[in-house]
Symmetry: C2
Subunit: 242 residues, 2 copies
């Protein structure tokens, strides 16, 4: 019963994810006046777009590769997982540089708001998690025991950081709306609120796909026996395996 | 290895949860001028305190009863789970009435912000989830098949709503800080930001306790055979069982 629904959930997640990017792009590009890299408010506009593309959409899709390509070789999927998250990291860095540089050029203070604290914490932990994932699962350094120990933590904190990333986006939307309301800069109506709800729907759907038992990778004893890249002991029974 | 750590995680979650309530109470009670029910800003102060007590702390503790009392009879724990969530609902309703009444008495518009949209959605879905849980698991109406179908959804959306509840709190903190900053009403320093981080830590710890395989209720075939309140078929193997 669960099996044939997986593709539809995946399509749904992609529609939601693309809708989030388009709405952020339209909000900042049309209502917000467009994009630039000149220290003006148009440079700030780069920040939300990059963060939604990197730390929400690409991050979520990086999680989903284990469900979308659940019948491909585990090593290929692991490399794809690492690559998509690397792209997510790079685009997030562009988005962070955009806003720090905008603040600095205008003598605004950095790292004052709860948004900035949560966002920086999410970014730093994401980067750390990416490095740990690389060391434990792609390089041959970690023993099978260490991999078995770290895997459920990696999967749990992966979803936690996606959730804090979206929570940080919601605070960002709230900040932008408050600034716009008080200074009457632009009327965005319900657009920003709907964007917020779509971001929540995206992360909930990715979380559902990532944790639902029936959508997990089926155990493949032949591949496991050949592979040194993964602990095989409780592969079939351990629900924290990706 | 995982077993003896459970009590420490539970103690940690309670310390974090109480710290969140105390900090909200101090923020609103001391820096925010105190509490009242007279339509003044002091009535607004009731709102954050009630929401953190109800939709964050009590809600989280309602989730945790399945871990804290994992060796008690399942029926008793189910009733406790329903009762704690009912208390969470009642306190949340007081918090919601406080802010709507404050808005109405001051002719402020309701349901404009993303905070209010996410918060109302969380509250309504929480109420719905509570009613569904009661009908499926406490009353004898639902068949074993229906219970097996609904249980993982109930557990998943239970954690989702706790997360959206905390995300809504973070937006609320952001709104209050922005209003205070622009109108120079009060200096709260880093207190509100630290409260935000503590709320995130609380929900992450509750989520960890609720999803970690080793912390689940051990299957109890004797109890299951006697009980008509729960499907027994894949009790031991289904990790979505509470």
């Amino acid at each position: 019963l669960g099996e044939p629904t997986l593709p539809w959930y995946v399509v749904g997640s992609q529609v939601l994810g693309v809708a989030c990017i388009v709405m952020t792009g339209v909000w900042m590009g049309h209502y917000g006046g467009g994009y630039a890299w000149d220290g003006s408010r148009l440079q700030f506009n780069v920040h939300p777009l990059c963060m939604v593309m990197g730390l929400v959409f690409l991050y979520g899709d990086g999680v989903l590769v284990y469900r979308v390509f659940r019948n491909e070789s585990k090593r290929s999927v692991k490399i794809l997982h690492a690559l998509i998250h690397m792209m997510a990291l790079v685009i997030s860095i562009v988005g962070l540089v955009a806003v720090f540089d905008y603040h600095n050029k205008n003598n605004f203070s950095n790292m004052q708001s709860l948004h900035s604290w949560c966002g920086m914490l999410t970014f730093v932990l994401f980067f750390l998690q990416w490095l740990l994932g690389l060391s434990f699962f792609l390089f041959p350094w970690a023993s099978a025991t260490m991999r078995t120990w770290y895997l459920p933590l990696h999967a749990f904190f992966g979803l936690v950081l996606l959730a804090t990333s979206v929570a940080t986006s919601l605070m960002g939307i709230t900040e932008v709306i408050f600034i716009l309301v008080y200074f009457n800069i632009m009327a965005t109506g319900a657009l920003a609120n709907i964007l917020g709800l779509l971001l929540v729907c995206f992360v909930v759907l990715v979380g559902y796909l990532a944790t639902k038992e029936e959508f997990r990778r089926p155990p493949n004893p032949e591949e496991e026996a050949l592979s040194v890249h993964f602990n095989t002991l409780n592969e079939g029974s351990d629900p924290s395996s990706p």
